[in-house]
């Protein structure tokens, strides 16, 4: 509570109290973090604030908990760490947020200003270290600066293309005192005003013309559709003009896989027919994608027969990898609303038939192996609610989840797409569960990834959240092992675990109900039993080490050069 000197109608706050007040003013209700020497004043103020603190067991966990909250809600989430190692432990989670455009604010305590530059205990230049991995960062030099820096950080994190912001606050700033009018927090608006870019009518008319005149258009939609909350507009657009939709990994969930116009995910581990259809298209409408190399394969040959119409809020993404015939910098929601009335109704019977034929020739069957990751993931997909939130770690299980889980709503897949951080899944699931207490949360993981943030099982038990963890155990770093098999003459080096712990015993030791699925007579009823309660559970599924993610575009090759699927085995 602020010390109130009511006679002057002023209140005295220290920098820590001011920071917490300003965070509260932005609607922050939960903060994940770990205290330490340099952020103790912040924790002291936090203890009296009414904001709920989540004590992560590692700062990287705190960063990913914030990400889980932000990815699942679209709202900025906050994490705390102390100086030195506390701050450096946040770095991976911040970089991850940067790559996937996730709005989080990391607030680090710093040693007192007077000691900066002296190699003091737990001193690190986290401001300098996070320049390349934040959207912007601040080192607070005066207590008054907080009044601007905190609300400004929320604006930066959310405006335009979202991203992480770091605020480094030296301890003496946290303890310095400021006088503010009593009604300061009532007066200052908590609403962030974000700028909306104006659209150019001629550009939008040309864009509509390109779509209307195309014969074989395909939309590739990505994370931009999700972060701009415009999946309903995407649906309208495709319905009106019968445009098929492919989704990037970050776009999964923004278009229903049940829709006939859905083409699946293209790219390195996409479907062959999806990649082929992109090659067939005469117009690619790129909505909120950044032409990542895992999506495009060799960029020169990507969609080689198509004109490209690109809409993205970030100007530096336009023409970065592929030169577009028309590129428009715009907020997708505004742009799609504007363009919808300009789009003609079209059935595209011919193109739709062509697509249906390709789909029929490449049926996406789940192989009939009960304990395979494909079957387990499909079964969990069938048994969970449409709004259940799925997190993954990184590796084979991540790609299988992208391939076999049916994501029907935006913000239901939380995955480390750009940075590919192993260890993301469990803390992100905890964050998602905190921000969505009524939803089912599932984390698919592997035995490689899970060990990288396993300490957060303690937090999961402490909070008793509805998170179900499915671990596919192949005693290896599967995606590495797979690449060594395919591209390094089966020279398996440093990719197999000579020893693996008993994961179910570990989960039990953390107090979490644990199961092994390996010889169950009725998987569906077992999975139902596991999923149908509100408590955490851990499930281990032993799988074959040789199980690969197929098909695959070999690194550096074009998307037309996929290997390892039925087609390749039988026709080439």
């Amino acid at each position: 509570m602020p010390v109130n000197t009511s006679k002057e109608k002023n209140m005295k706050l220290n920098g820590a109290e001011l920071t917490i007040h300003l965070l509260k003013n932005q609607g922050i209700k939960i903060i994940a973090g770990i205290p330490g020497g340099a952020n103790l004043p912040l924790y002291d103020a936090l203890s009296r604030s009414g904001i709920r603190h989540i004590l992560a067991r590692h700062e990287q966990g705190a960063g990913f908990i914030a990400q889980g909250m932000a990815r699942s809600t679209g709202k900025t989430a906050v994490c705390f760490a102390t100086s030195g190692p506390g701050a450096t432990n946040l770095v991976t989670a911040i970089a991850d947020a940067r790559m996937d455009s996730i709005p989080i604010i990391a607030i680090t305590g710093q040693i007192p200003s007077a000691l900066i530059g002296t190699d003091a205990f737990q001193e690190i230049d986290i401001y300098g270290m996070t320049i390349p991995i934040t959207k912007h960062n601040f080192l607070v030099k005066k207590i008054e600066d907080l009044l601007n820096v905190i609300p400004e950080s929320f604006r930066i994190a959310e405006e335009g293309r979202p991203g992480p912001v770091l605020i480094d606050i030296p301890k003496d700033i946290q303890t310095a005192v400021i006088d503010l009018p009593d009604d300061y927090f009532l007066k200052s608006s908590c609403k962030i005003k974000t700028e909306i870019l104006d659209l150019n009518r001629d550009e939008m008319l040309s864009a509509a013309g390109m779509i209307n005149n195309s014969k074989k258009p395909v939309i590739i939609a990505g994370g931009g559709i999700i972060s701009s909350n415009s999946s309903f507009l995407l649906r309208e657009l495709t319905k009106k003009n019968s445009i098929p939709v492919a989704l990037s990994l970050m776009g999964l969930g923004c278009f229903s896989p049940d829709n006939d116009l859905y083409l699946g995910m293209p790219g390195m581990h996409g479907k062959r027919y999806t990649n082929n259809l992109l090659h067939e298209a005469d117009l690619i409408i790129a909505l909120g994608i950044r032409f990542d190399d895992r999506l495009t394969g060799k960029p020169e040959n990507f969609c080689a027969n198509a004109e490209i119409l690109q809409i993205d809020i970030d100007k530096s993404e336009l023409n970065k990898i592929k030169t577009s015939h028309l590129s428009i910098q715009a907020d997708l929601k505004t742009a799609l609303k504007y363009i919808l009335p300009l789009i003609e109704d079209n059935d595209r019977t011919c193109w739709k038939n062509f697509i249906q034929k390709s789909k029929n020739n490449n049926p996406s069957l789940v192989p009939d192996q009960p304990f395979s990751p494909f079957n387990i993931i499909s079964s969990v997909s069938n048994l969970t609610d449409n709004d259940a939130i799925i997190t993954t770690d990184v590796g084979q299980h991540q790609m299988w989840t992208a391939q076999y889980f049916k994501f029907r709503s935006p913000r239901t897949l939380l995955t480390s797409g750009g940075l590919g951080t192993m260890g993301f899944g469990l803390p992100a699931a905890i964050g998602a569960a905190l921000a969505n207490p009524t939803k089912q949360i599932v984390c698919f993981t592997g035995d490689g990834s899970f060990l990288m943030n396993i300490q957060e099982l303690a937090l999961l038990k402490e909070l008793n959240l509805n998170v179900k963890i499915f671990l596919f155990k192949n005693n290896s770093l599967g995606l590495v092992r797979q690449q060594q098999e395919l591209f390094f003459n089966k020279n398996y080096f440093a990719s197999k675990f000579e020893y693996n712990p008993e994961f179910t015993k570990i989960a039990s030791a953390f107090g979490i109900a644990s199961f092994t699925l390996s010889n169950s007579g009725n998987i569906t009823s077992d999975l139902k039993n596991i999923l149908n309660n509100k408590y955490p559970a851990f499930v281990e599924i032993p799988i074959e080490q040789q199980q690969n993610v197929f098909p695959i575009v070999p690194p550096g090759k074009s998307n037309s050069e996929m290997i390892g699927d039925y087609y390749e085995k039988h026709y080439s």
Partner: protein
């Protein structure tokens, strides 16, 4: 190769230079020269960057525009770049023993 000068108006604080030079190194853009100094009111600085004209120029410009502390960017294609060439002789250090 032709040289281009990028003229920036930026907020004047100690981290700005790191933000700008860091951008060039991590995106592997070439940076041939830097001139920098505070403007009259000290809240802003002027930075002149000497870069090569090549196909990354557009990317450089739009990445610089995204930096929070960069207020204005102007691209000059026909400025005399001698000041950068002569920077080593500014104080006639060569004549000192």
């Amino acid at each position: 190769m032709k040289n281009i000068i990028l003229e920036l108006k930026v907020h004047n604080h100690s981290g700005v230079m790191s933000h700008i030079t860091g951008l060039f190194s991590r995106r592997s853009f070439n940076l041939e020269g830097i001139l920098c100094g505070p403007l009259d009111d000290a809240a802003f600085s002027r930075i002149y960057l000497l870069v090569n004209e090549n196909n990354t120029l557009c990317q450089i410009k739009s990445q610089l525009e995204k930096l929070y502390d960069v207020v204005e960017i102007t691209v000059h294609e026909n400025y005399n770049t001698d000041v950068f060439r002569n920077i080593g002789k500014l104080f006639n250090n060569d004549s000192e023993p």
